[in-house]
């Protein structure tokens, strides 16, 4: 029973990682950039959702606020992601790889500081230098479900359902739509994609927007689940999600989902490790041990990296 309980905990934690990991992987698949600022896009998704909630008068916790918050979070996250792509990454498209990577770290710090310093300055908004309580919306928070002795928090279930819906949507988008096929083509061979009439700049924007939208879902889910959000929350979550993306095979969207879930489960299972190295204090250590093992024995990731290969 304890095992089942940890499995459920792990999967729901992993669902959060997976939602963020997709953003690392789609952007990497198209432009071979590790967008280290993606964790901050997740954080901004959470703050966008909170901001919309604060702006709607009445402090309502009605379930009807949830879609409104989701849209707010997505608009904020997608807007910021597209802006960073345009001003920070696009000018470096043909620069050596190291330049955009360092820029991404700069963007990450900038976004954290920006939220820390300015979010609280908006009239009526709480101080953003410390953690801010996140509205606990009815139905998706509150008393946990108990199914045959296994408890599952409502927000955890919300995260899992959100991941399932997003993964389904992504699958259809990538494999069944014109734009999705253009994205695959661009990831496999960008120059030849241009010869087909595909506007590669547009595809890159779609990749950033798609990743940001999913990160915003994660930002909202994080707020519901941990009851508050703060400007630094993107750092560790981003690092874990990046680990998940590498674990699954960076560039591979299915891999990001699987990698996220596996990572979450491994972290929760760490409680079963007996003695000094077990328990939740060591969960991050075991998560990164897993990453190192995968990188040593299966460097292409669990499902295989799908980076560009040219004939």
């Amino acid at each position: 029973m304890e095992f089942l309980q940890q499995l459920v905990n792990g999967l729901s934690l992993g669902a959060l990682y997976a939602l963020i990991a997709v953003g690392y992987t789609v952007v990497y698949g198209i432009v071979q950039l590790i967008n280290f600022a993606h964790g901050e896009i997740f954080m901004i998704g959470g703050f966008g959702a909170l901001a919309v909630w604060l702006l709607v008068p009445g402090e309502s916790l009605s379930i009807w606020m949830l879609p409104i918050m989701l849209i707010g979070g997505m608009l904020a996250a997608v807007g910021v992601a597209l802006l960073t792509e345009r001003v920070a990454y696009r000018p470096l498209r043909n620069a050596p790889r190291l330049a955009p990577l360092i820029t991404a770290i700069g963007v990450s710090i900038f976004l954290q500081e920006f939220v820390r310093l300015f979010f609280g300055r908006i009239p009526g908004f709480p101080d953003s230098k410390r953690a801010i309580p996140f509205p606990q919306i009815e139905y998706v928070t509150g008393e946990a479900f108990n199914i045959g002795g296994v408890t599952i928090q409502r927000a955890a279930l919300f995260t899992l359902v959100a991941l399932a819906i997003c993964a389904g949507f992504l699958y259809v988008f990538v494999n069944k739509t014109r734009l999705g096929r253009a994205m695959q083509a661009t990831s496999q061979d960008p120059d030849t994609a241009r010869l087909m009439g595909i506007n590669v700049d547009k595809i890159i924007m779609v990749a950033f927007a798609l990743g940001a939208a999913l990160a915003a879902v994660a930002g909202l889910a994080h707020g519901l689940r941990y009851t508050n959000i703060d400007f630094k929350m993107g750092f560790l979550a981003g690092l874990k999600a990046f680990t998940a993306a590498v674990l699954g095979g960076i560039g591979n969207i299915n891999g990001a989902v699987v990698g996220g879930l596996v990572l979450g489960v491994v972290e929760s299972m760490a409680t079963f490790i007996p003695g000094q190295f077990g328990g939740s204090a060591w969960k991050d250590v075991w998560a990164f041990v897993l990453l190192i093992l995968v990188l040593v024995f299966r460097p292409q990731g669990l499902l295989g990296a799908r980076v560009v290969d040219r004939a």
Binding site: Q184, A185, Q188, D189, T192, L195, G197, I198, N199, A311
Partner: protein, 235 residues
């Protein structure tokens, strides 16, 4: 139809194309031949917008296109089947072909052209749902040509379609080009295999380290003393 005027292209400080001029008229097959590194691929990439010229002009159907983005050049009616085939290996044959028609909006026309490509290359129809990366070199070349045809181009540019193919497969590709020619497709053909290219071309240009050194009808170049020596392996 296509007019290239005094084109110069460089990679950094290395100039690969040093001021070449040539024209392709409607309905013609024109070939650029030359040895390794002559600048043939560079020329095609510049016409299709993947590279930007340092100097010179490119005109297509009365419009200047040398600063048009690559993804718009194809919508003007100029298709480029790149060197080394460059099919999308993890997409199916059919998806590859449909991507060739990415810029088109006329669904019915696309369906018709897909059938036309399948008629031209039956193997593609038989294996339409398979990932293109599993194909042999010759099959990939058929796919690359078919994909370029899917944009229903006014001018088709082919970069070394015979590269790395068995003699039999090469013959098959060359007879396809002849077939396309008889259907009235205008073609700019780049080849190292000068014999094959000149035999089916209306007009040919011989490129040597970034310059055009000879130009004449395909027939005349084929019997030209200097060409026979340098490119057809005779002495």
């Amino acid at each position: 139809m296509l007019e290239v005027k005094n084109l110069q292209v460089a990679y950094g400080r290395v100039r690969a194309v040093k001021g070449i001029s040539f024209t392709v008229e409607q309905g013609q097959v024109v070939t650029l031949v030359g040895t390794n590194g002559a600048g043939k691929t560079t020329t095609l990439k510049t016409i299709s917008g993947l590279l930007r010229p340092e100097a010179g002009e490119i005109w297509f159907e009365g419009k200047r296109i040398d600063s048009t983005p690559a993804h718009e050049v194809v919508t003007r009616g100029l298709a480029h089947s790149p060197e080394g085939r460059r099919i999308f290996p993890r997409l199916t044959v059919e998806d590859n072909l449909r991507l060739g028609a990415f810029a088109r909006k006329d669904k019915a026309g696309v369906a018709k052209d897909l059938q036309r490509v399948f008629n031209l290359f039956e193997i593609l129809q038989a294996r339409r749902d398979q990932p293109a990366g599993t194909f042999s070199g010759g099959e990939q070349q058929m796919l690359a040509i078919g994909r370029a045809m899917m944009s229903r181009p006014k001018l088709l540019m082919l970069d070394e379609p015979s590269m790395g193919l068995s003699p039999l497969m090469m013959q098959r590709i060359m007879s396809t080009i002849t077939e396309l020619k008889s259907e009235g497709v205008t073609i700019l053909l780049v080849e190292q295999n000068a014999q094959a290219a000149l035999s089916l071309a209306d007009y040919g240009y011989v490129l040597e380290v970034g310059k055009i050194v000879l130009q004449d009808s395909g027939k005349n170049l084929l019997v030209d003393e200097a060409v026979r020596k340098a490119y057809l392996g005779e002495d």
